[in-house]
């Protein structure tokens, strides 16, 4: 940690959050909001004189409320930067200054109530997302009695209790009587592996964390009686089985089965009722203290960051990697990498490994000093352009400029163009060519697909980043669906031109699917809003022409939703079966006339 603080190449902004990211791989412009610390970070020597005089006493978050701190405080002794901080919401008043005892106590004059939040802009070539985790809040699992019974604590609270630098100086004490417990129980999978509460996934670390805690306890208090209630112990890592075996040899009881209820006894001890699934018997255990082994949740900032950077999430809310085996630290967005629990629950070793991998991937991208641009961009045909300005309006990247008043043709800034193709789809004069996904190229695919047995086929448009990836995921998961669908890939659903749909129906397509990323998840900021609008427009026209609008479907399918993709395919097939030869013939007649 201290290495970070003094490394000449690392600029550290604490109390700071990324509020906006613009630009693209190689050159991202990042806006950072740095909140005021009210203590000069460089001058403060962390002597602590200020905290001694501060009259405001508050629960200490670092010790999870098991101890107290002042309104001016250092989070913990080894904090980096090693400087105090004022929680201004708790301070008696800095404007106007009411108390100011800390200012008087500070010989170096580090405390400054006039500091204000700063906005900082940084340009970077790559981004590592290492936003970490949040622990599960077990209050909703009322059967375990957390918050009802003081002697039920969480695994993180236990960490603070057994830590030599913690509130009890490393002595494990019962919260009610401040005496060392003679017996302790651990409940596993709290907030993990449950379809109803918390996550349905395994949180990866809780088994080994509990094994470690039992070893620490046995080291400190050899006589303590320890029981671990579990579903199964997952000790799969290097050296893990050894630790588990050691714990069992020291006499820790591992009982297969999670408690059904926890009640409080007369001595404020806990009465745990559990079905031991190894013996098939109902058992009651009397314990002095109970520790809940908490699972992990994605950090609360995950969704905001996902929208800001155009990333994807898995259904459990963690970030989705570009490929689970071959690109496990890359995001689908070029230049963005994942490290640690942001991507999935991990222990320290795995987090460190992944962080080094993310650094190596970022270096691989940057070491040439230049970046190759995506040649799949749009191009304006100046002679056909009527300078209406529609393309500039729909471009999510403001990459197109057009002077509507002077009637000069639109110009595409290819460096800023990301290649979604929305402009080409929206241009009313066909004056924009989307390279590699031209009208002609796509229409020829439509023709090739529908020139024979069109009645048997489902024409589907899928965007590269979400729905096409979702279709791949359905394949990887071997989900079976009817073989009638034929996918045409575009980079974004925003590329799906109205004329592709009309041509499909004119060629005798019974049903057509347009699919893309969920609204808010679009890889091209918000290009799929235009898809939504366009499909609504086509639906209206279809109704007017006497073509059943249901024959054109719009679905949002993410890269992680293989199951959903397969379901949509089954639904499309059911829709297709309802369309008769006569209905198709009638549509073809309407559209040909």
């Amino acid at each position: 940690m201290t290495d970070v603080g003094r490394h000449p190449r690392i600029t550290l902004y604490t109390l700071s959050e990324v509020v906006d990211v613009k630009g693209y791989v190689g050159n991202f412009d990042v806006r950072i909001l740095k909140k005021a610390r009210y203590v000069n970070e460089k001058e403060c020597t962390a002597c602590g004189e200020c905290a001694k005089v501060c009259p405001v006493v508050r629960p200490d978050e670092f010790n999870l409320g098991l101890s107290s701190r002042r309104a001016i405080f250092s989070p913990f002794p080894q904090a980096v930067p090693s400087a105090y901080v004022i929680n201004i919401a708790e301070c008696l008043g800095h404007n106007p200054v009411v108390c100011a005892k800390c200012v008087e106590a500070c010989d170096k004059g580090c405390i400054n109530f006039h500091m204000s939040d700063e906005e900082i802009v940084e340009t970077v070539g790559s981004i590592v997302v290492a936003t970490g985790l949040e622990v599960y809040d077990p209050t909703e699992m009322d059967e375990y009695g957390y918050t009802r019974f003081p002697n039920v604590v969480t695994s993180l609270e236990f960490e603070r209790l057994i830590n030599a630098g913690g509130p009890t100086g490393g002595e494990v004490l019962r919260p009610t009587d401040r005496k060392p417990p003679r017996s302790i129980g651990f409940v596993q999978c709290v907030g993990s592996r449950s379809a109803k509460r918390g996550g349905s996934y395994c949180s990866n670390i809780c088994c080994m964390n509990t094994v470690k805690s039992t070893l620490m306890l046995k080291e400190h208090y050899p006589g303590v009686d320890i029981k671990v209630f579990y579903i199964d112990i997952r000790a799969f890592g290097k050296g893990f089985e050894d630790l588990y075996t050691r714990s069992r040899r020291l006499g820790v009881h591992y009982l297969r089965g999670l408690p059904g209820t926890v009640a409080e006894g007369p001595d404020r001890g806990l009465i745990v009722s559990v079905e031991n699934t190894a013996t098939g018997k109902l058992e009651t255990h009397h314990l002095d203290m109970l520790v809940l082994a908490l699972g992990m949740k994605p950090a609360s900032s995950t969704q905001r960051l996902q929208e800001m950077l155009g990333l994807q999430l898995t259904p459990d809310g963690f970030f989705l990697e570009a490929h689970p085996k071959l690109q496990p630290v890359d995001a689908a967005t070029r230049g963005v990498f994942y490290a640690g629990c942001a991507e999935s629950p991990k222990d320290i070793k795995e987090s460190v490994t992944q962080a080094s991998a993310a650094a190596a991937r970022a270096i691989r991208l940057m070491h040439k000093g230049e970046i190759t641009t995506e040649p799949i961009t749009s191009m304006v045909v100046a002679e056909a352009c009527k300078s209406c300005g529609k393309c500039a309006e729909v471009c999510p990247y403001n990459a197109i400029s057009v002077d509507v008043k002077r009637k000069t043709p639109a110009v595409v800034n290819t460096a800023a163009c990301a290649g979604c193709g929305t402009c080409a789809a929206e241009c009313p004069f066909d004056a924009i060519v989307m390279n590699h996904f031209t009208d002609d190229q796509i229409l020829h695919q439509v023709h090739a697909l529908l020139e024979e047995d069109s009645k048997e086929k489902v024409l589907a448009f899928a965007c590269n980043w979400c729905s096409y990836a979702g279709a791949d995921f359905a394949g990887v998961s071997r989900l079976q669906y009817p073989p009638n669908v034929r996918i045409i890939r575009t980079m974004c659903s925003g590329r799906v031109d109205e004329k592709f749909v009309w041509e499909g129906f004119r060629m005798g397509a019974p049903v057509i699917l347009v699919s893309g990323c969920h609204i808010g998840d679009c890889h091209y900021i918000d290009a799929n809003h235009w898809t939504e609008k366009r499909v609504a427009k086509i639906h209206k026209k279809m109704a007017k022409l006497g073509i059943r609008p249901e024959r054109l479907q719009l679905e949002w399918i993410s890269a992680a939703e293989g199951v959903r993709f397969a379901e949509v395919m089954k639904r499309m097939e059911a829709l297709r079966e309802q369309v008769s030869f006569d209905e198709i013939a009638e549509t073809v007649r309407i559209l040909t006339e």
Partner: protein
């Protein structure tokens, strides 16, 4: 890593493209469900298709060599590879084209594995007909593909690391020790994250900080 061989790019003919089609078995991943030979045969009948073959593993060294040899022998100017998802091997085959002197964008892939053989395992006939269509669609598209050129832009050799827990710290140090500037952003008043709150950590049973 494969060394980049600079090969002068040949211009594709404006008229009458010369297309090669390779239907990959992917061992049994595709061939178990899709009749790859039949797909290659029906594709051979399409106009502008000069060669159409089924092939064991298109992505393997011998597979790529066979395609490269064909490009030379038959003067192919564009290639359809019908195999796995382009999201997996498009870069591989683009590089192959480039080393044969063709523009890497004159490649089209038909997804016969993730979106055909793996999802229609119980319907080999339906899957084969779908595969034929997917390859036909690829051929109709590749006829019209244009060579594209990549551009280069200057890059800022700095990295933003969001989050100062153990992962963020490690990534920042690795980058910085390799000579790259790092901007590390942490929302709390100190770095350390959840790790700092832990006592001893497994498997080494040492301090977290």
């Amino acid at each position: 890593m494969e060394a980049t061989v600079l090969v002068k790019e040949t211009e594709p003919a404006a008229e009458n493209p010369r297309i090669g089609v390779y239907v990959c078995h992917c061992g049994l991943n595709i061939a178990q469900t899709v009749d790859c030979r039949r797909v290659a045969e029906s594709t051979a009948l399409l106009s502008d298709v000069i060669v159409s073959k089924d092939i064991g593993y298109a992505c393997s060294e011998p597979g790529q060599q066979q395609i490269k040899d064909d490009i030379r022998e038959y003067e192919l100017d564009r290639v359809v590879v019908a195999s796995c998802s382009p999201r997996l091997h498009e870069p591989t085959f683009r590089q192959m084209l480039q080393s044969s002197g063709l523009n890497p964008y004159l490649l089209e892939m038909a997804n016969l594995r993730e979106q055909c053989s793996w999802v229609h395992m119980k319907d080999p006939e339906g899957a084969t007909r779908k595969a034929q269509d997917l390859v036909k669609m690829a051929v109709s598209r590749i006829r019209l593909l244009q060579p594209l050129q990549e551009d280069t832009l200057p890059l800022t050799p700095r990295t933003l690391v969001i989050g100062g827990g153990v992962a963020g710290i490690q990534a920042a140090l690795d980058l910085a020790d390799n000579g790259y500037d790092v901007v590390l952003v942490e929302k709390r008043p100190t770095i350390g994250g959840v790790m700092a709150q832990l006592d001893k950590t497994f498997p080494t049973m040492d301090c977290s900080i």
